[in-house]
């Protein structure tokens, strides 16, 4: 932290800017400013003297640092906008400077383009359905945005049905629009979700954890019973198993996974597997 201490505090917030490297995995609060590694080196004590000055663009070879959720560019520093833990991912192929983001707990969903979500149909008006996705506005879904839908062949969608689709338009100025087909025109798993089953809500962080590749929780849950699960990035999960009891058990386990450590989870799964 010696380098950061010698940096004059010129940030807008008036607080000392810290090097992002030193606060990894710690809690950061909104308003804090973070220095990227490049700036650190340049502003360190005696930096100019100890290292040869690089006049060519090779200095920038560290590449673009991607600013993830919870962070915002402020001049040449990163400004924290959400409270949570700071995370960093190294660049895989060596290009770019990696990704920085803030892991925060959130239940309120903000529509993002490309996200796959579970929505509830609230209204049918003319050619479009109004679908509640948990955001500030209901998304609109055209009846032609289903696989195999034509003007004569309308999809069988009623008010109150569950829809799994993705956003094609989602910004803060317009109402979001979603579709149930991908760019090739195929459904690819999207569309109306079946009649039975249970829909419940969890935090967004848990969904991201469950949808990460090689998620242990999912593998263990999959070994319990045969079931169908749909995860929506808006925090909604739809679960269906053979009996109501199994469905309830699955729903309770997934909700509880948020707050359990790995050991506790393994205990519960082993107990369930025995019974």
């Amino acid at each position: 932290m010696a380098e950061a201490a010698s940096v004059p505090a010129e940030s807008l917030a008036g607080c000392r800017a810290r090097a992002a490297r030193t606060v990894l995995d710690q809690v950061v609060l909104p308003g804090e400013e973070l220095l990227l590694p490049e700036q650190e080196d340049g502003e360190g004590p005696g930096g100019a003297g100890e290292r040869p000055l690089r006049l060519n663009a090779a200095a920038r070879s560290r590449g673009r640092v991607v600013c993830g959720p919870g962070l915002r560019r402020c001049g040449d520093r990163l400004l924290v906008t959400k409270c949570g833990r700071l995370r960093h991912k190294e660049p895989g192929s060596g290009s770019g400077g990696g990704v920085y983001w803030v892991d925060s707990q959130q239940k309120r969903y903000v529509p993002v383009k490309g996200d796959h979500v579970i929505g509830i149909v609230t209204a049918k008006s003319g050619d479009i359905f109004k679908v509640d996705v948990g955001g500030s506005e209901p998304a609109s879904l055209s009846y032609l945005a289903f696989e195999g839908a034509t003007k004569r062949n309308r999809p069988n969608v009623q008010v109150g049905d569950l829809i799994y689709g993705q956003f094609v338009v989602a910004n803060k100025d317009m109402e979001p629009e979603m579709v149930c087909i991908d760019s090739c025109g195929r459904a690819n798993g999207m569309g109306v979700i079946g009649q039975d089953g249970l829909l419940f809500k969890v935090t967004l962080g848990l969904i991201r954890k469950l949808l990460a590749p090689d998620c242990e929780i999912l593998q263990e849950v999959g070994k319990l019973y045969p079931m169908e699960i749909v995860f929506g990035m808006n925090g909604r999960i739809w679960v269906k198993a053979k009996t109501i009891q199994q469905t309830l058990i699955l729903a309770n386990i997934l909700e509880a996974c948020e707050h359990m450590t790995t050991d506790q989870r393994k205990q519960i799964f082993s107990r369930l597997a025995e019974s």
Binding site: I120, G191, D196, N252, S275
Partner: protein, 440 residues
Amino acid sequence: MKETPMSNCERRFLLRAIEEKKRLDGRQTYDYRNIKISFGTDYGCCIVELGKTRVLGQVSCELVSPKLNRATEGILFFNLELSQMAAPAFEPGRQSDLLVKLNRLLERCLRNSKCIDTESLCVVAGEKVWQIRVDLHLLNHDGNIIDAASIAAIVALCHFRRPDVSVQGDEVTLYTLEERDPVPLSIHHMPICVSFAFFQQGTYLLVDPSEREERVMDGLLVIAMNKHREICTIQSSGGIMLLKDQVLRCSKIAGVKVVEITELIQRALENDQKVRKEGGKFGFAESMANQRITAFKMEKAPIDTSDVEEKAEEIISEAEPPSEVVSKPVLWTPGTAQIGEGIENSWGHLEDSEKEDEDEGGSDEAVILDGVKMDPGVEVSNIGSQDAPIVLSDSEEEEMIILEPDKNPKKIRTQTISATQVKAASKKPVKKRKKKRAAN
């Protein structure tokens, strides 16, 4: 914000689960959620948590002149507010119906039952009486506001201490908190509301409905009782018809529950009093010691898995090995063969992955087992109806009609047909509904 709508599948699932006597959080029909009572540093301030529903209660007092027609009685004032943080649907202008209903019920429960001795609140007859004001704030809405609010109100009233007053002739001395210890209110009994939610026109009832159960309920019965089994208030809303013995049964259940809750309240009050007397730390900050910013501790929700074992054993013991017809293709004409009957094509299932097909195959087997258990009489009638062509898809573009053979099929085939007929029969009502909607 508008309330999140409840989807059809949630509603259906909840009602089916209630028919099977299962609740979402694993409770039994007559179980209450965990009640947690914590007190603040001031007297008369408490937070009651009924599961995730949280109500904050605060009692305050003031010396005022009495009402003209009740010169020797103190004044009680109750106020329940639905804070906007309780639910996204609570907005400043939009809560009037629910708010009025809850306030009215609380008033009837606490004021008309005369649980507080208002005569003891009189200081100088006709001139000065105590006005006791109970403010309740709903902090989080997860169902059953009325129960939590009534518990918070009575706990806050029992916890409250008013300044001591002494009257000597014409002189009235009001002592401050430093001069003399404050005095508790004189409370005769503790009325507590117990809510019963009714489903399917009064066939099923649940105690302490959670928020989702409240959304699918038909009607609500609230009984306010004290531990001496005296009913203080009873209210039925939702317009359902209740039978006399149902109401009597509910009152018996309420009696039992109220005794438990009253014990809990007494214990909490005693604990708090002990801590204050011993000089220990008290207040809300102490009761929240376990929660930290990066780690959560959630109460264990009891999950009842006892059923699963029995059901699994039943299925295993009564199962026959899966019938081999599934893998044996039936040759209709040279070049045309059929494996199995196929499943009904509904629009939503068109694009589902193979995983669903496997699951459907699995559920097919489960249905076959059920079919085996049926008595042969039913089987025969099912075979008879197989002559009608089975339309598997509503779409105009693909009309799939399975033509049935004229000859009598072999015995094994019979079972399959009857089993899938069972499935088709159970799906027929669904199909009919779909056709009606398509016509719309």
